[in-house]
Symmetry: C2
Subunit: 358 residues, 2 copies
Amino acid sequence: MSRAYNFSAGPAILPEEVLKQAQEEMMDFEGSGMSIMECSHRGKEYSAVHEEATANFKELLNLNDDYSVLFLQGGASTQFAMIPMNLLGEGQTADYVNSGTWAGKAIKEAQNNGNVNIVADCAKDIPTRMPSNDELSLSDNAAYLHITSNETISGAQYKEFPETNAPLIADMSSDILSRPFDANKFGLIYAGAQKNLGPSGVALVIIRNDLSEQTLGHVPTIFQYKTHIANNSLFNTPPCFSIYIMMLVTRWIKKTGAENLYKQNAEKAGLIYSTIDSSEFYSGTAVPEYRSDMNITFRLPSEELEAQFIEKAAEQNLKSLKGHRSVGGVRASIYNAFPVQGVEALVSFMKDFEAKNG
Amino acid sequence: MSRAYNFSAGPAILPEEVLKQAQEEMMDFEGSGMSIMECSHRGKEYSAVHEEATANFKELLNLNDDYSVLFLQGGASTQFAMIPMNLLGEGQTADYVNSGTWAGKAIKEAQNNGNVNIVADCAKDIPTRMPSNDELSLSDNAAYLHITSNETISGAQYKEFPETNAPLIADMSSDILSRPFDANKFGLIYAGAQKNLGPSGVALVIIRNDLSEQTLGHVPTIFQYKTHIANNSLFNTPPCFSIYIMMLVTRWIKKTGAENLYKQNAEKAGLIYSTIDSSEFYSGTAVPEYRSDMNITFRLPSEELEAQFIEKAAEQNLKSLKGHRSVGGVRASIYNAFPVQGVEALVSFMKDFEAKNG
């Protein structure tokens, strides 16, 4: 068998050595005679995994002691609800940037819960982009400002985060740990694991502890951040296997060197963008200064050519290049674990395809 | 390496052939060149898994078309909150049986949300038991009656379910698919997967569709049952790997034959209970007519002997026999996947230990 170059937007490609290790120890985790899936979440085998995953995130994100690292279930979609349930008090307003599909989903849940001020709206702009910081009409005394650091569908990415007085909250599902940034400037960061961190079934939440204290008692225990902070994400049985894979991925990031990985991510994206820019056949869909390094979105001269492109690419083991069904086009998602060789193979295929059809 | 006899209460032992298959196809799921963890949740590889898991549950539980099978995140603890959020309307009362720790947790979340009537309380009874149906002080027009079919910590299990006019809701986390019962008599059944069904990170929810329609709009989208019914549990990215393992487990149950498995479960429990009953050294903690076939709880003459028993057993590869920290004693959890040979090894160890220490 040959491993596919898997451009899926998520669930997405994982580091090959992580999968190999999971495979090797599937029937017997570290001599316990049990799979990690079979180990009690309060036993010594799983506890060591949980602690290493937590410590790795603290280290990789340079978190100071004001923050907790949580592993929660329900993905980013559950965070869309938990954030206003916990942090948007009665009579308060939450500021949200509407930058696309994912921001829109977060906004919908917040509006269901309280007062929301859309501080900028570029969700329908074509080419796609993020708002500049000058454009934001911030509220006085907002409970928080919510942004989506990378829009997976449109392929637009924040390059410089807003400066605010209100706690800054970011959905980083599709670009966490893909580039350097100062996590200590945020009130809360969340990310579904299934793009840069691991398999689906777990969301990483980084929260400044003081923010969790304001939650009102009527919020169900399981949906209160303070429940999970107080219990180190072990209030109930956590998604142990997903956290185990995430631990292996963070171990792989540390071994690779986060800075090396970040540099490589920019280079991988640069290879595809320069192919687009040197061609009259391909056109990028995002404003260049907001182009995502994770999800590279582009169009061909016609939908027929796009369909052919996607089909012929798949025949060459370049899989899942179809753009999201809501926007069409082509999308190459190249998260941390996506190999440079796969990007080179795509670029080579793009040139061939253009030569034949341009 | 030798596989342990793992008596863990959950996460718990899985069928060896399920783990082997997961291991074999870890790097390449059915020739896709991708791990099932790397496959898009909307792609053909994962879709087939999702559909097979759903169909297997419908078949194994003999569900009629009034029901939906859902795969949700957050475990039974999230269901404790979602049930009253969705099904306990303003001004209504929900009936709950308090049968122990797990029922108590469900009650606490319902009380946080609305009016609760405790229809029977035997949570503190020693020996542990379930209330008889005659004991229940049911409300007129209750929104529903909630029971816990098996109390994992105390080792008490319902043998005959209550008859009610209100929709019957059961937490079956620790005994789903371990014995025959008529699922079509229930309004809602839920079960964290990590005991009888698969790894942690997914909960099975069986819901009669009409019940989902009453949910009020202020409930966050992700916590509404109708959201997940309408989207076949694909409203957001599901916990794909946990569902994949659950699919393999249900396939294994079908291959083994559910009736064979149910018969074997009763026999396995019988072997241990008859060892307890024929001894003056061991004493069961549950009233005999409510003894659990899944979690067998017993005491030795002293805590010192219990500690020795657990330690010596572990040396013979009989692992995780320690009772829950809240009650002490010994607990042997013998879910579907626990092999008869392991039960025989335990019984043999019990007899030896008694001979040496009795």
